[in-house]
């Protein structure tokens, strides 16, 4: 059977792709999984792979052509199979042919619902229409996956069987890393049911967190903070006032004396211990974020999601524009690891080899133009994040120390804050913590 080759969504935000180069010629035999072409997405160059076995019979577009996601760009079929219909469909209207079937498919069930629809018998039995294009092979919750997770949920549930709870509640708790024994049940006889787990997740009932100084709740990925009425009003009024993201800016002036000393001391130990000032700043930001979940957050419209993990985005300039790769769990990583990872991500970004999972999922971002001798600047928030830190150049500045004028290495950074989620004082407290860490970098090893 013929397999259509679709322009696939190769990144989460991709709407259109440019076929950079075909890797197979018409007439080449291909197997499922073989790379067919290189496709430039909105973020990177990715491979488009075959979804069926056979011969690449037809390429409908040439190198360098762009097509929207979902459009047929080629066809794989047996060598002697008749593909005229597909060719006519794809070749004729180009995008039109495929597009036309999709909306119709969605409309049909609606039609059947509408009381005034003329007749049911003449309505096509749309849901089972065989012409539906195959779903793009995005990582959907495949049955195998869900079965697997169900298995693990079952084994995990064994330890909590004592707390009366429904299988669904156990599965969701397991999925979200919640300790079900800490949840209060509201079902019949105090049974823990789905809504209890959802309420617990929303209110941040912990996964048996150790009462240590760590702010991070180890197993829950985040905490959804429901919006209070006052928070909703603040959000609405401020958004009316300024753009979709009511941004304000907080600037701090930091003394880098000790950071410079520390960096030099490490460098003296050998080249392998070389870290940049930016690496040290990233480490400090990550550490501060772990202590200020209200800044390490996403604005989700109806709630604020405070992340327990710190996934730090670092803006990298490339020839094609800006991209923000992510250092995951940055607060848990050692300075050396952050340094190496930052370097590697920057390289991949410049070579356009970042994978989508390497530039999505950040919880807060840092942009540094210090190396371009920018004294200070403001950066644009990367939604749904609620803040971004713009780091300027480290320079010698005259300052008063103990009543005397001295030259000190200073650096300015400006945090852009989404006022819907972050109030001035909240942002300021985060920056206070950050200042303490940067001015006393030994705390980073505590």
């Amino acid at each position: 059977m013929a397999t259509k080759v679709f322009m696939e969504a190769l990144s989460p935000t991709m709407e259109e792709g440019r076929l950079v180069k075909w890797l197979k010629n018409e007439g080449d035999a291909v197997k499922s999984g073989d790379p067919l072409a290189e496709v430039e997405t909105d973020k990177a160059i990715m491979e488009l792979v075959a979804r069926g076995d056979g011969v690449l019979r037809k390429r409908f577009i040439g190198d360098g052509d762009s097509r929207p996601v979902g459009q047929v760009v080629g066809v794989i079929a047996a060598a002697d199979e008749n593909i005229d219909a597909i060719v006519a469909e794809a070749g004729g209207g180009g995008a039109g042919a495929e597009k036309a079937t999709a909306p119709e498919k969605e409309k049909a069930p609606e039609k059947e619902q509408a009381p005034s629809a003329p007749s049911a018998s003449s309505a096509p039995s749309a849901p089972s229409a065989p012409s539906a294009p195959p779903a793009p092979p995005a990582p959907s919750a495949s049955s195998a996956q869900s079965a697997q997770s169900a298995q693990s949920a079952q084994s995990a549930s064994r330890s909590v069987d004592r707390a009366k709870s429904s299988p669904l509640a156990r599965r969701i708790a397991n999925d979200r890393g919640l300790d079900i024994s800490a949840v209060q049940g509201s079902g019949p006889g105090g049974r823990i049911i789905k809504r209890d787990i959802e309420a617990a997740a929303a209110s941040g009932t912990p996964a048996a967190a150790p009462a240590s100084s760590a702010h991070r709740k180890p197993s829950a990925a985040f905490e959804d903070v429901p919006l209070t009425q006052i928070r909703k009003t603040i959000a609405r009024r401020l958004a009316e006032s300024i753009g979709p993201i009511p941004t304000f800016y907080l600037t701090v002036d930091l003394d880098l004396g000790r950071v410079v000393e520390m960096r030099q001391a490490m460098l003296d130990l050998g080249d392998e211990f070389k870290v940049s000032i930016n690496d040290l700043l990233l480490k400090a930001v990550a550490t501060a974020l772990a202590q200020h979940p209200e800044v390490n957050a996403h604005w989700l419209g109806d709630r604020i999601r405070q992340h327990h993990a710190v996934h730090l985005g670092m803006a990298v300039a490339t020839n094609d524009g800006l991209i923000v790769p992510v250092i995951f769990d940055a607060d848990q990583k050692r300075l050396g690891d952050i340094s190496r990872e930052a370097r590697e991500l920057a390289r991949l970004a410049r070579e356009r080899k970042l994978k989508p999972e390497q530039y999505t999922g950040s919880t807060f971002s840092v942009s540094n133009l210090g190396m371009m001798q920018i004294a200070e600047f403001t950066a644009i928030i990367n939604p749904p994040e609620v803040g971004i830190l713009a780091v300027g150049a480290a320079d010698d500045h005259p300052v008063v120390v103990d009543g005397e004028l001295r030259m000190r290495k200073r650096l300015r950074m400006t945090m852009s804050c989404d006022h819907r989620a972050v109030d001035g004082a909240v942002g300021a407290r985060f920056l206070q913590t950050l200042r303490r860490l940067v001015e006393n970098p030994l705390m980073l090893v505590y």
Binding site: S119, A150, R171
Partner: protein, 467 residues
């Protein structure tokens, strides 16, 4: 004047169950009921209709009997006999409730009631006496609902040529031709009955499919089966020009862009029921109604007036006996000062007893789409089920809709023989938040129709065995 703890207005499935539970909890309870105990369900609904549907099923099976090596002699169909049997079953059930009342020492006051203050009820007894009774703890309104005609399109009930289900249940013989307006559960069930007894049946539905509250797949399956049995189905139907004569009714029906004249001996109006909220003193006491005319209640089934509760059809849809019964249980426990778990109305199963039967619980696939829930469907046809083949009842399917991520049962839809019995495995599963994994883990006996449920669960997980 007598004093009780609780007085129920109406002895249908909601009221009588509530009364029995109140009595169990030690409350001195009275039920005021003008007709017989059991209400619409026992007297004019579920029970007599099901008795007729069994007769219809018998008639249909007779046609297939020769295939099974059983060739009956001259098969005669007599609706009058079926009707009399159905009345006998109905009476038997009503007597059964009377017995339960005696056993539980519940007072049945025969008459019509009206609220007379927060703790008092005025009764006009069957003998015409005016009485007043006190309810110390609570008054529960369980007056139910009644059939209604469609005067807006010229089909007012005249109980002879334009009838409701009430009259249909006591016809002496099956009409030569009957037009049924409304293809919900009631309409489909009577279409089944009369078709089996030889009437020419035309089934009209204003919405685009029959059984419109069911999943579209279920509707289509029944429609297909009905058409095979020569039931004329017109959906998306608009009725105009209704002329009610002495010996029949004619009307113009527009459906599928075509107009045609439909004539029949009898028209059965099966389009909805009206709650019995009139003349029971609601307004005088300030009991609030909803926009749709039902009594407004909260989670504890309390009305807007203290100590006055409402349950059953009069308290809002779904107008189903089993929903009313559950409310009866709960209201009794609320009145007794217990704190029962609130009713989860999303777990009330729907059941239609036509052939093939239709049963469901939870959301339809269309509703999942509207709510933008990510779901997966598992479906297993009875044509691939061993037991269904043995009985030659291979119509229908089990369809499970599960959450894509956690496998929770969003909806379950069964069409086929005994569907209304089979659904309860899935009602139990939903009520206890079992996922399709637990359903699939349960070992289903072989050969049974229930195996189809296990297979549908497996199919939703992508590992169906037998199809």
């Amino acid at each position: 004047m007598a004093t009780f703890d609780v007085i129920f207005l109406g002895g249908g499935p909601a009221g009588y169950v509530g009364a029995i539970r109140c009595a169990q909890l030690g409350l001195n309870t009275a039920v005021i009921e003008r007709e017989g105990l059991g209400g619409t369900c026992v007297l004019w609904g579920c029970i007599p209709a099901k008795a007729l549907l069994e007769a219809a099923a018998f008639a249909e099976k007779m046609k297939k009997a020769p295939e099974f090596g059983v060739t009956p002699g001259d098969v005669k169909l007599d609706f009058g006999v079926a009707m009399k049997r159905s009345r006998a079953v109905s009476t038997q059930n009503s007597k059964g409730v009377e017995f339960l009342f005696k056993k539980n020492k519940i007072t049945w006051i025969k008459g019509t009631a009206k609220l007379a203050g927060k703790n008092a009820v005025a009764v006009k007894t069957a003998e015409g006496k005016e009485e007043k009774h006190e309810a110390k703890k609570a008054v529960v309104i369980s007056t139910g609902s009644r059939v209604k005609g469609l005067p807006q399109i010229g089909l007012e009930l005249n109980r002879k040529t334009v009838i409701s289900s009430d009259e249909a249940l006591i016809l002496e013989q099956a009409p030569k031709s009957i037009t049924i307006v409304g293809a919900g559960a009631v309409g489909c069930e009577f279409a089944d009955v009369f078709a089996a007894f030889g009437s020419k049946v035309t089934l009209l539905e204003a919405l685009p499919g029959i059984l419109p509250v069911e999943d579209a797949d279920s509707s289509k399956e029944v429609e297909r089966a009905f058409k095979k049995r020569k039931i004329d189905i017109l959906t998306g139907a608009k009725i105009s020009n209704a002329k009610v004569g002495k010996d029949g009714v004619s009307m113009t029906v527009e459906s599928g862009g075509e107009k045609r004249d439909v004539k029949s001996d009898i028209v059965l109006v099966a389009a909805g029921r009206a709650p019995n909220v009139e003349d029971i003193g609601l307004q005088e006491l300030g009991v609030k109604l909803t926009d749709r005319g039902f009594i407004q209640i909260d989670k504890t089934l309390a009305t807007s007036v203290a100590n006055v509760y409402a349950i059953g059809d009069v308290a809002g849809p779904p107008m189903l006996a089993h929903k009313g019964e559950r409310e009866g249980h709960v209201v009794a426990e609320v009145i007794a000062g217990k704190h029962p778990h609130a009713i989860d109305y999303t777990n009330v199963p729907g059941a239609t007893y036509c052939h093939p039967e239709v049963a469901s619980v939870g959301l339809t696939e269309q509703q999942c789409k509207e709510k933008k829930i990510e779901y997966k469907v598992g479906k297993f046809p009875f044509s691939a089920n061993g037991r269904a083949r043995t009985s030659g009842e291979t119509e229908g399917f089990v369809k499970l809709i599960r959450g894509a991520k956690h496998g929770e049962i969003l909806g379950a839809h069964i069409v086929g023989a005994h569907a209304t019995e089979l659904i309860h495995e899935l009602v139990l599963a939903r009520t206890n938040e079992y996922t399709v994994e637990e359903v699939e883990l349960a070992i289903h006996a072989h050969p049974t129709l229930s195996e189809a449920i296990g297979e549908a669960a497996m199919d939703s997980l992508g590992r169906m065995i037998h199809a």
